[in-house]
């Protein structure tokens, strides 16, 4: 089986989309001549030219908004937010303009655009360059939000997102760009938006994760004594009720592993829905494993503790399975 770094899978998805569909264009800071700050767009300028792979000034509002206008006028723009935090100066264009275009024109104008962004913690970029921030988008009517977990999923999600007739955000965990994964899919491979995948079968608990936490959850589930099912959420809004309910119906226990604070994470809605739909059928209360309520620290030891680790997820899950009670999070023990 071929191995591919996630960086290359992003590049291949973009390249294939640019090749197959002449209306696809890309915009972002230093994505063209420089090949992107994370080298995920290397070579695309040379192949597809400056009309399609467009370097922009440092003007997130301008190019996010330009994507909206270009999308309405027949293009499929793919915008790069180098770090997802940067959309904090341009959120309006995505959530208030792009996402209402179809509604305000009753279907006559639509915005098939994609915002790709590197996101997440683990590499010491500090608290203004290490967040997921999916809660800024989740639940906006008309907008879909995905999180890639590796080479295969980033390819499948990006291709689907670019083909989708509506705006889609695809978050790419920056820490995974250099990770090599099996990749053996044809150019026609797509991951349908809105569908989750069971990436490991198990019977004692369902662990739902996305992004870099999928690896963490899988490693946790592989530990001795645990028999957990792991679901890669992939699309976090709207999320796949069917797959999750089916799994939890089987295992009777739900664990979410979220790279988010409890107040902002996607797990709230999932736990709420599962608790409601499977009321009385759960063996244990659902467990949310989240970040502490703190910004992302720079120091390496601190950041490693800040993020859920495989050992921590395994221990918390094991505790849930054995006692059917919610274990304390580490920071309550720590402080």
């Amino acid at each position: 089986m071929a191995m591919m770094r996630m960086r290359q899978a992003v590049m291949k998805a973009l390249d294939d989309a640019l090749r197959e569909d002449p209306t696809v264009i890309m915009m972002g800071e230093d994505i063209a001549a420089a090949g992107g700050p994370f080298k995920v767009t290397e070579g695309l300028l040379e192949i597809h030219g400056p009309q399609r792979v467009i370097d922009t000034p440092i003007s997130e509002m301008a190019f996010m908004g330009a994507a909206v206008g270009a999308a309405v006028c027949g293009m499929k723009p793919v915008v790069e937010m180098m770090f997802i935090e940067f959309i904090g100066v341009a959120l309006d264009q995505l959530t208030t303009q792009a996402a209402t275009m179809r509604y305000l024109s009753r279907g006559r104008l639509t915005t098939p655009l994609v915002v790709r962004a590197s996101a997440g913690a683990g590499q010491g970029f500090g608290c203004q360059h290490s967040q997921m921030l999916d809660h800024w988008f989740r639940g906006t009517p008309g907008l879909k939000v995905c999180v890639a977990s590796g080479s295969r999923s980033v390819y499948g999600l990006l291709r689907s997102a670019i083909e989708d007739p509506d705006p889609v955000v695809v978050l790419e965990p920056r820490i995974l760009y250099g990770e090599r994964d099996d990749f053996d899919e044809p150019d026609t491979f797509r991951i349908p938006l809105g569908k989750a995948e069971v990436v490991r079968e198990g019977n004692d608990a369902t662990i739902v994760a996305c992004g870099q936490m999928v690896r963490v959850a899988k490693k946790a589930a592989e530990q001795d004594g645990l028999d957990a099912e792991v679901i890669d959420l992939l699309t976090i809004w709207p999320w796949d009720r069917e797959t999750i309910l089916k799994s939890v119906r089987k295992t009777g226990r739900l664990v979410t592993v979220e790279e988010a604070t409890a107040g902002s994470g996607w797990g709230g809605d999932i736990v709420a829905t599962v608790s409601t739909e499977l009321f009385g059928a759960l063996k244990a209360p659902p467990l949310r494993i989240t970040l502490p309520d703190a910004p992302v620290p720079y120091n390496g030891e601190l950041e490693a503790r800040y993020l859920p680790s495989p050992d921590y997820v395994a221990a918390q899950t094991a505790s849930l399975v054995s006692k059917n009670r919610i274990p304390e999070p580490w920071w309550r023990k720590a402080s």
Binding site: T56, P57, G69, A71, G74, R102, Y103, G107, P165
Partner: protein
């Protein structure tokens, strides 16, 4: 009442080639705005509404210059532009009254007029939002090999928001076919321009982006059109964007029932002396295309038409419940209604 087929947006737009029609359109805008104010007092208009009476020459001057498949982004103060570009009084009044015959089917309201068949994007209620979107339309025009231009219309107060700066810079560096049009009516909400902006002429800001900055008499429809022609030609030729500052004035308050007590004393009177409709009517009389009686006849005719449209709107149905759930994403019904600009005249209805 006009015959049915002359009341389509595209027919109305094409009619603007005629100077008498331009005058009539300016009268229509004025009358529609006045009618909206009354509808507001009578409780037919929800939320807020922002009139553009006094600014008719800007709207008609722009509309008569650009083509129906050039793209326009505009703001909540967009009734004038929607009508000038071709949206029908029924479409505009209907939207403002939230009826099915409204140009956004009653879902949008006064701040969100839309008419894709003549290039009008949904008007944006967030200051500055339309400028980057126009840049994007221009990118698409270039990419798709047309010579179409995008026009972004916004106010003087909006020249202080970040999106203004980013858009002008982006358009300049990319040489995009955009015309940025600032309707400088001297006020942003309840603040006179000198209280928010340290310069008098917004056009000066073009210097920061190495693009032409042009000050235009916004009360003179011919001056507006002449200035626009130069800017549009420049854009179509691939020479990049321009910043046009239309000096104008709004006769009404900012919105709803704002009495505009913040105006400088005598200012309104000064501007009324150069009323754009009177100026143009006088000019047409001077040119011999109309006599004074003819002007009054037109006004009477337009008044009847606007009143007819209003009654049509008030008799029109409210939208069905399902409408508000339908246009969220492509999974909903009606997802096949998409208008494809430029390569599909069928989209223009």
């Amino acid at each position: 009442m006009q015959a049915k087929n002359s009341n389509t947006p595209i027919a109305r737009r094409e009619a603007l080639e005629d100077r008498i029609e331009q005058l009539k359109r300016m009268m229509e805008i004025r009358l529609v705005e006045e009618r909206i104010q009354k509808l507001f007092s009578d409780g037919y208009v929800r939320g807020s509404t922002h009139l553009a009476n006094g600014q008719e020459a800007v709207a008609v001057g722009i509309a008569r210059t650009i083509d129906p498949d050039d793209i326009v982004t505009c703001t909540y103060r967009g009734h004038s532009h929607a009508l000038a570009l071709g949206a029908t009084p029924q479409g505009v009044l209907g939207e403002i009254c939230g009826r099915t015959i409204g140009c956004a089917g009653g879902l949008g309201g006064s701040m969100h007029l839309v008419e894709p068949s003549v290039g009008l994007m949904p008007t944006a209620a967030i200051i500055g939002a339309g400028l980057p979107i126009a840049c994007g339309a221009a990118i698409a025009a270039k990419a798709r090999g047309t010579d179409r231009v995008a026009v972004a219309i916004f106010g003087d107060g909006s020249a202080n928001i970040g999106a203004f700066h980013e858009s002008l810079n982006f358009a300049a560096i990319q040489k995009l076919p955009v015309v940025f049009i600032c309707e400088n009516n001297l006020y942003g909400e309840y603040s006179r321009i000198n209280l928010t902006t340290p310069i008098e002429d917004i056009a000066i800001r073009a210097t920061s982006y190495a693009m032409p900055g042009v000050i235009v008499d916004g009360q003179d429809v011919d001056a507006v059109a002449a200035a626009m022609e130069t800017a549009v030609a420049r854009a179509r030729a691939g020479d990049g964007p321009s910043l046009m500052e239309m000096k104008t004035y709004r006769y009404s308050g900012h919105s709803r029932s704002d009495p505009a007590t913040y105006r400088l004393p005598g200012e309104l009177d000064q501007w009324l002396k150069r009323d754009p409709i009177n100026l143009f009517a006088d000019k047409l009389v001077g040119e011999g295309s109309l006599d004074a009686g003819g002007v009054e006849t037109l006004r009477t005719q337009m008044k009847a038409e606007v009143e007819g449209a209003t009654q049509e709107v008030l008799a029109a149905p409210q939208p069905e419940m399902i409408e508000m759930l339908s246009h969220i994403n492509a999974a909903g019904p009606g997802a096949d209604r998409r208008v494809t600009f430029w390569d599909d005249r069928a989209g223009k209805r």
